[in-house]
Symmetry: none
Subunit: 271 residues, 2 copies
């Protein structure tokens, strides 16, 4: 079970959802399990009023926010999780099955307590904010969209003649994921994840990781690293590199200061 505060720190992000009734179905699933924050990333204005399946979920729909980009939608989040049906795509991310991924998300949401030795000497603080991204009904999340994610999760589905069934209905996928997130894990006591980054340290928001990524790109450009190692410099590649290092709120300013200093020095030499 999640506390009210934890429920409030989960954002369901729908990227390029095509069908208003699917958005309504997602809102209903959120309402069923107590989640409130719905964000929709779309190039065109969503006809929210047409989302008629949102029975009893009008509060979720009324609070839904339209975002111009995935980066905007996850800017305040400390953990960004992508969902995928795992097709033939060659994934660059760590991939967890839903049960394991949900345990990690709960760890991120958890508010540090007085029993947490690691935070004894720090001021009490709230837990992290988690975004869960769902792609369009047809194509899922693109590689660029996935590059904003810390890791991916998948709902285990049946394999037919060794081939995994391609994907779930959007509303059903959201319902299953949110069910697992609030599912009482006491039935399987291994649900606690040990040693996940950000478990004890204060997590860092995606917006700050995006600034570090931008600085990395600048330094790579300024040092001609981009020219010599072009295969490492695809923007999505650099974003994943920065996500993987799992910087926390303490280290983030150090990394930013370090990269800025490199740029400053290179600039200075140019003059």
């Amino acid at each position: 079970m999640l506390s009210e505060s934890e429920l409030d720190r989960v954002c369901v992000v729908l990227v390029r959802a095509r069908n208003p009734s699917n958005i309504g179905a997602v809102a209903r699933a959120m309402h069923d399990f107590g989640f409130r924050r719905l964000r929709v990333v779309n190039e065109f204005a969503m006809p929210f009023t047409a989302a008629k399946s949102a029975v009893d979920a009008s509060a979720v729909m009324a609070g839904a926010v339209t975002c111009a980009s995935v980066a905007d939608a996850v800017a305040d989040c400390t953990l960004v999780v992508g969902t995928t049906a795992v097709g033939e795509r060659d994934l660059q991310h760590e991939l967890l099955v839903l049960a394991e991924g949900a345990a990690r998300m709960r760890a991120e949401l958890r508010e540090p307590t007085h029993d947490d030795e690691a935070v004894m000497d720090r001021a009490p603080e709230v837990g992290g904010t988690v975004a869960v991204l769902f792609g369009s009904e047809k194509t899922g999340l693109s590689n660029e969209e996935l590059s904003h994610c810390n890791w991916l999760l998948t709902v285990p589905m049946h394999e037919y003649e060794g081939v995994r069934h391609p994907s779930m209905n959007l509303g059903q996928a959201v319902a299953v994921c949110l069910y697992e997130l609030v599912r009482d894990p006491t039935h399987d006591d291994k649900a606690v994840v040990k040693g996940a980054p950000g478990d004890v340290a204060e997590p860092v928001a995606a917006a700050q990781l995006e600034r570090i990524t931008a600085l990395m790109n600048e330094v790579m450009e300024a040092t001609e690293y981009t020219r010599r190692h072009a295969h490492n410099c695809d923007p999505a590649h650099v974003r994943r590199l920065v996500r993987r290092i799992g910087v926390d709120a303490v280290d983030a300013p150090v990394w930013m200061g370090f990269l800025k200093q490199v740029l400053w020095k290179l600039e200075g030499r140019r003059e």
Copy 2:
């Protein structure tokens, strides 16, 4: 996980489902999780062909059976489970939350093995056959329909001001129940489907981390970061910074190449 034989011994029974597209959504959820036996109890003939949401679930739809009564639909089942949203109704049955109920259903489906002491002296036999009943979208299962059940299960949902949210979308409810039924409760090592590239690759040796640390120190020195942020440049501090980012064997050469490139550029400027 359920075996193919176990999957074949689960019947999803829809009682008085009103909306053909909901039946299609249920068929799709069944197909996603590997279930095949759909039975529909309706007073009037169901327009199965209109069930358009049944993407990829045509086999389930083609095999769907229309039954005249609940008694007919569950006649060959050894365990009959009703689903309920638990309203004000005074339930006469034992009520389990989904996770517990699913465990009981798995026990019923399980095929006895030679190791099962209880069946040592009996002829080998297959496991039981389980029916899971879902009522109409509006009213759920009637008391008469519930009376066919051995016990009931409910999907735990959020309570708003102490009042439980009335009910889920039919397709979502079926998806969540079937997900829980096939959910692997052991959390074994299959939980990580695919590690991050570095997880599969050799973990990086301390010596390589030490080389990255040395390069960081060099860059900090060369960029005058050391002079401006002396408090961040204690050697042990830098070492911890590098250790904390958890570079793996795949990313390590990228970080080294990047830092070397920064040094190369700074050197070049000096000449």
